[in-house]
Symmetry: C2
Subunit: 426 residues, 2 copies
């Protein structure tokens, strides 16, 4: 284990500085200092010769993967109950499970599993939904902090259209949120930060949203929510907010849609022209969650268009509408979903490529943290070392082919070592 501020790692280095091209440096050195990437070198320069070094041999080094959208309490029912569409699925599976997190001992058991699994995989950063419960949300943050993961975690806000046990009043929700933020501040986490998390328009009254906007401004917090995932949901929002031009406009009128407020919106499967334009204008991040969108029969987001228009896009596993937190799987799903969109819906939009999905899962989502998700100089030193021996092949593969195979076939078994913000997790 490396415990120094400066170190050098050797292996086959891959990153995507832009979305069209992988940068591959075989048998090269990655130098890190002060939690940042200092540089990539074919030969280790003289001035770094004394650094602590680790030679990972033929293994592959990639930036840590970034999950822009995952629900920690839903991890308990991953791989189950996906025979419904969004709104029915929330009622039948999600809300009953989330209600359990009022119980701290249950939350501890369940969140420990979540934190252990996230730690074991290739994810170094994640934007995480908890539940409405302040105490168990803090417990989750403690566990993620201890796991060394750079997570933004949100206590969920809901004051309408949800079962009694998961419904706060606007006032309670506001007070609990403020208390949660204060408690988080007092804890002095190094890795974990709070993010405001109104579940989505249907579960939040305007009163609550106004209160959250004040909190957002007072504490300068980022925001995460859901947008245009499912046709039934989109129609419902239209009913609930007749004055809004489109779903995203309902958030924007409340000041919770980018601009001065750093925002991630998950899904955007049904974002139309005006919504896409607003997302772009306001600098909102999109969490593309392809597996979830397939499992809940939502559809396939127009990611090619997002990319063409220069929108900010990353990937989300969206457990438990996505079955796994494995972001390699999310990358493969993003390619597959784009192929189904091309074949069945719109053949003017080219399918996603390997470099593109790798970019989305690293630098694309990493941008929400700033300079994260790449091995360019000054980027956060989030590094995953992959050992792909299990994926045995009778032929000699080049490093690019090995990455492609990792995207389709790897899971936590391939994660050999992992660093987040310059600290080795294992």
């Amino acid at each position: 284990m490396i415990r120094d501020e400066r170190f050098a790692l050797k292996g086959n280095i891959i990153y995507a500085a832009d979305r069209e091209k992988l940068t591959i440096c075989e048998q090269s050195w990655l130098v890190c200092e002060d939690q940042k990437i200092e540089g990539v070198y074919q030969e280790l320069p003289e001035r770094f010769r004394e650094l602590p070094k680790m030679d990972y041999g033929d293994r592959i080094l990639i930036p840590g993967l970034v999950d822009l959208h995952i629900h920690a309490p839903q991890y308990a029912f991953r791989g189950m109950g996906m025979d419904l569409e969004l709104l029915d699925w929330l009622d039948a599976h999600t809300f009953p499970e989330e209600a359990r997190y009022e119980n701290l001992s249950y939350a501890k058991r369940a969140y420990q599993i979540f934190a252990d699994h996230l730690r074991a995989g290739a994810t170094t950063r994640a934007c995480v939904f908890a539940t409405i419960h302040r105490e168990s949300t803090i417990l989750l943050m403690d566990l993620l902090e201890k796991a060394g993961l750079n997570a933004m975690v949100g206590k969920v806000n809901m004051d309408r259209n949800s079962p009694n046990r998961l419904r706060e009043t606007a006032k309670e929700s506001e007070q609990e949120t403020i208390q949660w933020i204060k408690e988080v501040q007092a804890r002095g986490y190094q890795n974990v930060r709070p993010i405001l998390t109104p579940r989505f328009i249907p579960s939040c009254t305007d009163d609550l949203m106004h209160a959250l906007k004040s909190i957002q401004v007072s504490y300068d917090l980022p925001v995460q929510s859901h947008l245009s995932e499912n046709p039934g949901e989109v129609a419902w929002v239209q009913e609930l907010c007749p004055q809004a031009e489109f779903y995203g406009d309902a958030y924007d009128r409340l000041g919770l849609f980018g601009r001065d407020c750093k925002t991630i919106m998950a899904h955007c499967v049904y974002s139309g022209d005006r919504e896409i334009e607003r997302i772009k204008e306001n600098g909102v991040f999109i969490a593309h969650c392809p597996e979830s969108n397939i499992n809940l029969s939502s559809g396939v987001a127009p990611v090619r268009r997002f990319l063409n228009e220069g929108l900010r896009v990353g990937l989300g596993s969206d457990v438990a509408a996505g079955s796994t937190s494995n972001l390699f799987y999310a990358m493969a799903c993003a390619i597959r979903a784009s192929k189904m969109r091309w074949r069945l819906q719109d053949d003017s939009e080219k399918c996603l490529t390997i470099p593109e999905v790798f970019y989305l899962a690293t630098k694309g989502g990493g941008a929400f943290w700033g300079n994260t998700g790449s091995f360019e100089k000054g980027y956060e030193a989030d590094i995953v070392v992959l050992d792909d021996q299990r994926l045995v092949c009778p032929n000699k593969l080049d490093v690019r082919q090995r990455l492609e195979r990792i995207i389709y076939l790897a899971d936590e078994r391939e994660v050999y070592a992992k660093f987040a913000a310059g600290k080795q997790i294992f």
Copy 2:
């Protein structure tokens, strides 16, 4: 290890006698004799009390899974090169790899990996494409026999529209096929059998097909091939066989499409009304390969319609257009593909359910062997014991929920023990 002809296994037993319903017998006994299922009992009857017994505790026992379509030589490049559609993909990736199997030492190295991985997973039966090479096809059969798997394996036939190194003359192809069958007969395999394997219409002249039909009749062999996978392929077949009413009719005119000749056709994504009717009339089996059909941007087969019309359908992994031989994954993909078809193409066709995909992967495909893929009395004793401890959950799940989670999340790590035709493999 059980080495007896008669034995009893205890655990949580699941099978699908019909496609709408899982039969679940918790903490029950599965009695096998003479390689067949004798029965399932809540309490072990007196007359079986002296049998060798194994209590698998809380583990789950399911019928061995059946892969109706997999290409052994393509296993080498699984998870790579899926950025092309079928015909270009064959030229760019498949044919160059298949040409290598002329070299026996390469074939041995590559096929050993394939056989080891198939053995480790939940598959007990498979219909396997090899290459045109007689010797390496026999080597593959030796390895699968040794692995204890019940495979039907085909030396591929191709005498047109393929690269020189993979093109036989019709005469050579006929002679090699006859010699291959004779050599196979001489080997006296217990588990492995030959299946005639004309690659598909575009690679086989009528002369070759007529010769194969004579061989089929002389040796009473089953047949496997490809049908209506991709629009470009379908159009090409129409050009090549202007006299055929539809793609499947081209096979049928040659006597290689069901009726007296047991046939599996992989894909059927673009089968129209008349083709579906002929498939039904002739009793042709369909190998539904959902992952492959997505990866090669082919589309989604109308499986709901196949089932409604009572067609015989099983699942195929179709490695390497499918990335994995894991049939749990193929089941989950079949559900997902049906959801995309429902959402993007035809919302009159209901999505596939968990019992349905489980049925397809067991009894549906198993029917190609006769009474296989179920725990009804007289069925072949193909049994897989699953240990799902790794898929840890904070809640107590019932056996049905555990199966659902296995379908979405399991791989070879969950396969704890495995029997094919009454013989324990591990």
